[in-house]
Amino acid sequence: MDLFKWFNKSTSSKDIAKERLKLVLIHDRANVSPQFLEMIKGELIKVISDYMEIDEEGLEIKLTRTKREIDDSTVPALVANIPIKRMKDKGNI
């Protein structure tokens, strides 16, 4: 998500609407603030960095909904997208 795109006049207004909605819904859905998500993000980076080199810039974490497999009902889900650059040498762990 690129916040600066918002100020670019060529971005269509529906894309702006969609991005704004996504942000506001993070807050609405689980009563979780963007700051809280940033905190989780920081912790995740700390833990994962022990095992692999990750693209911190590209790391994305969001609250969304998903269908639960057992009964097909919709539940909130925390989704993290963590691009890996390189695995660290396992011998060092």
Partner: protein, 269 residues
Amino acid sequence: MIGEVIVVTSGKGGVGKTTTTANIGTGLTLKGKSVVLVDADIGLRNLDVVMGLENRIVYDLVDVVEGVCRLRQALIKDKRYPNLFLLPAAQTKDKNAVNPEQMQKLATDLSEEFDYVILDCPAGIEQGFKNAIAGANKAIVVTTPEVSAVRDADRIIGLLEASGLRNPMLIINRIKMEMVKRGDMMNIDDMIDILAIDLLGVIPDDDLIVVSTNRGEPVIATEQSLAGQAYRNVVRRLMGEDIPFMNLESDDGFFKKMAKLFGLNKKKQ
């Protein structure tokens, strides 16, 4: 017989709950089902005028709940259709005149006599909403392609699921094809992506809805109306038919036109 009890909700006001209730109900009865429409918007009744039945009201929902009359006495038969009834809301009382337990009993009683009980929910998340969803076993969430309406729909979906109404179905109303094409209105994929619930239908913004509301005749009965066609599809999906939203591959003129107008076949253009 135990009929389905479907509540039509939205969160935000004015997005098309009453219009949707009237059209789905009329559509189901045109398909041979017995239907009762319940106006749960106590204090702000509208379903009666949208259905063109406002002159026939004697008793209302609150009268039934308070035992002033029997349930049958309060039901208004729509004479234009074989099996369609309306239970009007009270106009001079407020939402606290009934409670969820009473509404649940009412819905159960009605579901024993009709194939479909469709509840028109008031806007908001207060008592009126809680009353309307109390007796329902299915929910339809109506939204328009606007930030505030989608946000409120998301909140309603959360509340519905929290109260045990799993898997609500989405109706996107008042979509304007020219605006979607220009990139100035969220398209169907955008909204499904955000709300993550099953899509029941997409209703275009259509002047004929205003015309039909003026007359008190739901647009679903108007053959040439695009919104009417969209509602006819919704009804068939509700009845379990697998109706494609837009058949992009087919040569069918109508669907092609719809798809193009909705901006769904970008890849092909």
